[in-house]
Point group: C2
Chain length 466, copies 2
């Protein structure tokens, strides 16, 4: 049995590890388009900031680790075509020569590519000019070259999602003056504006100039004598023009699924143009699975959506790898869109649905804001946690939780308590029944999560509640 994965990131490598664990006799080849298999893309901001001292440290596992786990790696090798009928994959190797790899089962893990928003000049300018997208290790090296060789004093970051916010921190840590531009009315639009405002305050408190509600129209080389070599022209929602000069422009406005290869092999596309897969991660073509950022996401509350995350790619890859061996019948249990981002000394986290998402999905949501201490305030070092609880009015089912607090307020693992509760279908009221841990330096007799749930329960009874 020979299984081949296209893609050496989370999905492909997780598939290989799991397949070899389930069936140590299976042969597994991973076709990797670059020379960086199993790299932690989520760690890139911390390499740029200097906190990770060498890019090699971003590897989840070394090449030797991966080989020791029994997989064969073909680096700098591009998958060209899938002959699903003959179960063959045509690739172009590092030397430029084509090659044919026969497989019994194939796992497509081609991932995503960065979105290119409609900004004039974006196609004409590139890394040599200080204009960057950021998705791969090669992108990372290009950013580092600009930082080290051009030594820009300032940067514009287009986009204030997770990576944008992390890169604002990273570039600030390197001493650049950062302007962050976000088209939507508030930063980090994956959380409600009330928490996004707190994230923005962190950015601003650390010297980042934040321009929400502002759309970038053009990136161009600046005139001689301008305050920076690049000129970014934008406009507010009210039509007011905004011009910022900088030495580096980073465009981080999300990703699009990379599906061309799968489509040419006959795969059907689903939500947001991602590869349609069933919960067993089968792509609808005999012998072909797909997983990771290139496929649709089964969401426990929304059904089919597209929500590319590293955690999800790991899970989907693991399931594809197990099922490809023929020894497993696992199904992806579904995402809840659980996410956390560190913003300087704080963290913002979410799981499940925001109010607007819940309403769009047909629920009748009630969202309640509450604040509680991470641990008993009489013990030194306590921090307030801002919370938003969303539950369904009639069924009282817990639909979503959002948290914002200090990075030592255990916000990340508190969101995971909520994620587990939502995963198991608990009501908001049930949360108070959970037997959670308590000691004054690390919690409260009712955990902050339970206090938030109780606040929801009180207010959800009130007719004035929203």
């Amino acid at each position: 049995m020979h299984i081949v994965a296209i893609g050496g990131s989370d999905a492909g490598i997780s598939a290989a590890l799991r397949a070899r664990e389930v069936d140590p006799g299976v042969e597994f080849t991973v076709v990797c388009a670059d020379a960086y298999p199993n790299f932690s893309i989520c760690g890139i901001p911390y390499y740029v900031s200097g906190e990770v001292t060498h890019w090699r440290n971003l590897a989840h596992r070394t090449y030797a680790d991966l080989e020791a786990a029994g997989m064969r790696l073909r680096l700098d090798t591009t998958a060209r075509r899938i002959d699903a009928g003959a179960r063959k994959l045509i690739v172009t190797g590092a030397g430029g020569a084509d090659d044919v790899i026969s497989y019994d089962e194939l796992i497509i893990g081609t991932g995503a590519r960065p979105a290119r928003p409609p900004i004039a000049g974006l196609d004409a300018l590139g890394p040599a000019d200080g204009v960057h997208l950021l998705h791969s290790m090669d992108d990372t090296f290009a950013v580092m070259r600009t930082l080290e060789e051009a030594a820009p004093a300032s940067a514009v970051i287009v986009g204030a999602g997770y990576i944008g916010v992390e890169m604002a921190e990273a570039l600030s840590a390197r001493g650049l003056a950062v302007t962050q531009v976000e088209q939507l009315p508030e930063v980090l639009p994956t959380v409600d504006p009330e928490l996004g405002t707190l994230v923005r305050a962190q950015l601003e408190d650390h010297g980042v100039t934040v321009r929400p509600g502002t759309t970038v129209r053009e990136i161009a080389r600046a005139d001689a004598g301008a305050p920076g070599p690049l000129r970014v022209t934008a406009g507010t929602a009210d039509g007011d023009p905004v011009t910022v000069h900088a030495g580096l422009v980073l465009v981080v406005t999300g990703v699009r699924p990379e599906t061309a290869l799968a489509v040419s092999a006959g795969a059907r596309l689903g939500a947001r143009g991602a590869i349609a897969v069933d919960k067993a991660m089968r792509a609808g073509i005999p012998g072909v699975f797909a997983a990771g950022d290139c496929v649709i996401t089964h969401h426990r509350l929304l059904g089919e959506t597209y929500l590319p995350l590293g955690t999800t790619a790991h899970k989907q890859g693991r399931i594809a790898g197990e099922n490809a061996t023929g020894r497993g019948q696992r199904e992806f249990a579904g995402s809840l869109g659980t996410q956390v981002v560190k913003v300087f000394d704080h963290a913002a986290a979410r799981t499940g649905l925001k109010d607007t998402e819940a309403r769009a999905a047909g629920f009748d949501p009630v969202t309640v804001a509450f604040e509680a201490d991470d641990h008993k305030a009489y013990y030194p070092g306590s921090h307030r946690i801002a919370m938003r609880f969303t539950g369904d009015r009639d069924t009282r089912r817990l639909l979503g939780v959002q948290l914002f607090g200090h990075k030592h307020a255990e916000v990340a693992k508190r969101i995971d308590i909520a994620a587990t509760a939502i995963f198991c279908g608990m009501t908001v009221d049930d949360v108070s029944d959970l037997d959670l841990s308590y000691t004054p330096p690390l919690g409260s007799p009712w955990d902050a999560i339970q206090m938030g749930a109780q606040a929801w329960a009180r207010q959800a009874h009130s007719p004035a509640s929203h």
Copy 2:
């Protein structure tokens, strides 16, 4: 409607708060034997250590807060007798005069008293001699008097459970040379010895002399010229004598339920001599509920047991308060014995069952040890978490998790993820399906909890596993 609670600690106050929330028209009286209603007994070690600067800060709520919540407090008032037929409670008030309080519903929250192990001299010596039990605020003031007036240079702590370990840290922080004596073979016997050993190492690294497997036989006044005013005589399991001198001896070897009043009113006793209650917290006498450390504990995996914890008392009190109003039909969902303790810069936590407990309860447990990082090791400040996962061999149900790690490794809330999973009846394999949060500074694509679960799943297949 007049509801009366006997006891002003977690159960009684939670009952009052909930009753008034459910029915703002209800009258609620809390009879409190001392002058410290709603004090955080769990916070006492942090007042003794000096981290909590005033004992009043240990109050969860002030007297004014409690009155504002609509309850009437009768302080320094001892409940003497329940006339359940006439629905009257006979009390002795602060001035020494008896009084009769009529009630419609009564909630017994008499709590527990500290165990008095069979140690010669324990009954004859007391706080004036520097020999202390520690359970109430009055006990706390007595300890502080010894510390401030006798200024002992050394202490012996008898018992190394949660409070013993916390007091070892507290007295060390005050500069005392602490010897901790534990009858069982390892400290913190609520976790497996493998983790208890790590807790002991923390104690020893911070200068505490730990003597596990050692039973204290006698406490006596030392001879003139001895290295301390008190002589503690003990013996190891092998029969070797151990003698330690100290200026303060603290006996903290658990608690016993305080049931005399309930028994005299006709209550039946259950596990470990605690008051038998149903899940609605009814004590089997018309109009009488009971909650907190004086009652049996319904455990989700063990059925009826006795497991007094502040978190449980809060939950039980809340349910008793709601049901007593006649407007609620809540049932206590059951404990999992979830606990966490900070030990200097580390924390030890548990939920569910240890291997020995699971076996005694009729499961066929497999327990697997594993270690993982709290977050990606490439990001600065990562810590290893030592884990023990216990699952049932055939059903693969998750039965228990134990964790030990740095206090910033989010051990407390990670045990709560496991507690939520166990609460919901998940298998160990299901844990990998949970959609948990990830960012490199705060986690991993598979959280440590999921890596531990996966290690269990691998080893549970092996016939050599235990």
